[in-house]
């Protein structure tokens, strides 16, 4: 803020007004933060309560901390199966999908031909395809390839469904890469693949991180696709695993919330470590669209 601006502000408002305005603003931010945090804190406390205590003492701290809710979530709610599944599915799908979209982006960006624009539009319009329309035909395709009933039944579609966002974010980045650098490498006798893996990929690193976060978050949290395609705990990811075991344990809120916390915690920890990358990465896709 410059001197003139500050002076102007002081002229138009009294000191008291500024102070009150400031307090009011802090209050608004505090209320918004509490609105976000209070349910989360209540959930954490709830995850340590026994069933009777849940109804007798819904808001206070538990008299007895039921750590067993977590060990039972691990076995009864099948987290021992669905947590590793979620990690495998998300990791493999994110890595392959990001690599493939960076290849597409590079391939499309090198040519200013009509087909490049057409392909780009085709990939990006994949964002509009409702998953309900393609999921049962997809089921037929997966059965035909023999992926049904394995983790590939989720990994395979996730890879393809990650491409539209990847292409959307990465193509402009690939187009902006310095042409001379690639030409120079070609002169030196580098193969096209070497140019891509040694020069293009490292230069696109910030974009690759954005795309990985963008796709990783939805793949980790996805509910509808595994609801239809993964019918047993052995191949389910956590969100659908939790929903499907609840039918049998509907009043065991402690168990429900300990599973929800286990399913949420890894993403939250990653987010807290890389807040900036998550925020810019997630909005990168939104703003470009």
């Amino acid at each position: 803020m410059t001197q003139t601006q500050t002076r102007q502000l002081q002229r138009s408002q009294s000191d008291l007004g500024i102070l009150m305005g400031k307090t009011a603003r802090t209050l608004v931010l505090l209320v918004a933060s509490i609105w976000v945090l209070a349910p989360l804190i209540l959930m954490i406390i709830a995850s340590f309560k026994s069933v009777p205590e849940f109804f007798m003492n819904p808001f206070g701290l538990p008299d007895e901390w039921m750590f067993s809710n977590y060990s039972r979530a691990w076995t009864d709610a099948n987290l021992s199966l669905t947590l590793p599944n979620t990690i495998i599915v998300t990791t493999v799908a994110v890595l392959v999908s990001t690599l493939l979209s960076s290849m597409i982006a590079y391939g499309l960006s090198r040519k200013k031909k009509k087909y490049a624009m057409g392909l780009y539009t085709l990939f990006v319009s994949g964002l509009l395809v409702p998953v309900q329309a393609i999921i049962l035909p997809l089921f037929i395709v997966l059965k035909a390839i023999g992926f049904f009933g394995t983790l590939m039944a989720l990994i395979f579609p996730y890879i393809a469904m990650g491409l539209p966002l990847g292409v959307l974010v990465l193509t402009p980045i690939a187009s902006a890469l310095p042409h001379e650098l690639i030409q120079a490498a070609r002169m030196d006798g580098a193969s096209e693949w070497q140019i891509f893996s040694r020069i293009v990929l490292p230069l696109m690193k910030p974009g690759l991180i954005s795309v990985s976060i963008l796709n990783g978050v939805w793949m980790w949290n996805e509910f509808f696709i595994p609801l239809i395609l993964a019918f047993k705990p052995e191949v389910q990811t956590m969100p659908v695993g939790i929903v499907s075991f609840i039918g049998a344990y509907s009043t065991e809120w402690g168990l429900v919330f300990s599973s929800v916390i286990v399913s949420t915690l890894p993403v939250v920890i990653a987010y807290l470590f890389m807040t900036r990358q998550f925020q810019s990465g997630l909005t990168a896709g939104a703003v470009k669209g």
């Binding site: 502000l9 931010l29 976000v36 989360l40 499309l108 329309a133 890879i159 469904m161 509910f223 239809i228």
Partner: protein
């Protein structure tokens, strides 16, 4: 010794297609082929079981045009969309403006307010099932303490309150988008622009509405389109909070849950009512309407950006 191969005209024109091919194969198998299959099946009367099917042309689509549960569900989506839109462009924008003034603990507020965005809608749904519960939830006692006891109610089982509850939970989950998108828009506005307006004697309010707000048009467009796509895809929140039937009495039924029940059955729905082909027609209709709407939305909003 290997020399760089002289490139043939074919490889210089199409050579880089090798980079596109592997991704395209996935895209073809998962998106394009199923989509074509879906269009084909939507023109039959297949229920999803057995081999009993006949080509019925566009019958499913014409039936859909007079199928009132579809309109009811679409209306609920539209209500959610408008309510969230209003929320994002007022509360979301205001919070972004507050954060842009760089208050103390800004990093903390930013981190906290964006947090729900990374959480799954399933987790969000369970958290709010607890919060809104009339027996063990926090919301009703809180309203009573604030002297707003008349607002307390059976949020998820009262037909008048259930849809507002869904909107409330969606707002909680998506507020972070508005804040971050508007905040990055605000941070891109050159300080000189505001200073120049201040020199000319504009007050804070005038500076915001005449100088700052027009500059936020791209953020407004992005957020509106994002909200549109997100709210018309609503499924998880309704599934967890009020179930696949859009309880109570379909008061929270959205197009997503309607398609799910029609095409796949879903719990407490008799298999005799499953009409897979009709469900597909619904999903494809939704896709067409959404694509058309997005196109219009972007057209209108972008032209406004240029004028501003």
């Amino acid at each position: 010794m290997s020399h760089p191969k002289p490139q043939s005209s074919f490889s210089s024109t199409y050579g880089h297609l090798w980079f596109v091919l592997p991704g395209f194969a996935f895209f073809l198998a998962v998106m394009l082929i199923p989509l074509i299959l879906a269009v084909g099946i939507s023109m039959t009367n297949w229920t999803g079981f057995g081999n009993d099917l006949q080509f019925v042309g566009l019958d499913n689509y014409t039936e859909l045009l007079s199928y009132w549960p579809f309109y009811r569900a679409a209306m609920h989506n539209a209500i959610i969309f408008l309510a969230i839109l209003l929320f994002q462009h007022t509360v979301g924008l205001y919070l972004a403006v507050l954060l842009n003034e760089k208050p103390r603990f800004m990093q903390f507020y930013r981190t906290v307010l964006f947090l729900p965005v990374i959480m799954s809608l399933v987790a969000t749904g369970f958290i709010w099932t607890l919060m809104l519960s009339p027996n063990i939830g926090l919301i009703n006692p809180l309203l009573q303490t604030l002297g707003l006891g008349f607002l307390a109610g059976n949020w998820l089982s009262d037909p008048d309150l259930a849809l507002p509850a869904i909107i409330f939970v969606t707002a909680w989950n998506s507020m972070g988008w508005a804040i971050i998108i508007y905040l990055s828009g605000l941070q891109n506005i050159p300080e000189e622009l505001k200073q120049a307006a201040a020199m000319d004697g504009a007050n804070t309010r005038q500076i915001f509405w005449r100088v700052v707000f027009p500059q936020l048009s791209p953020a407004f467009t992005a957020l509106t389109v994002l909200t549109f796509i997100g709210t018309f895809r609503t499924f998880d929140v309704v599934y967890v909070l009020t179930g696949p039937l859009g309880a109570p009495n379909f008061a929270t039924d959205v197009v997503g849950t309607l398609i799910y029940r029609t095409a796949f059955g879903g719990s407490s729905f008799s298999s005799a009512d499953i009409r897979f082909a009709f469900g597909l027609a619904m999903a494809l209709m939704l896709m067409l309407v959404m694509a058309g709407f997005c196109y219009l939305l972007i057209r209108v909003l972008r032209s406004r950006e240029i004028e501003a």
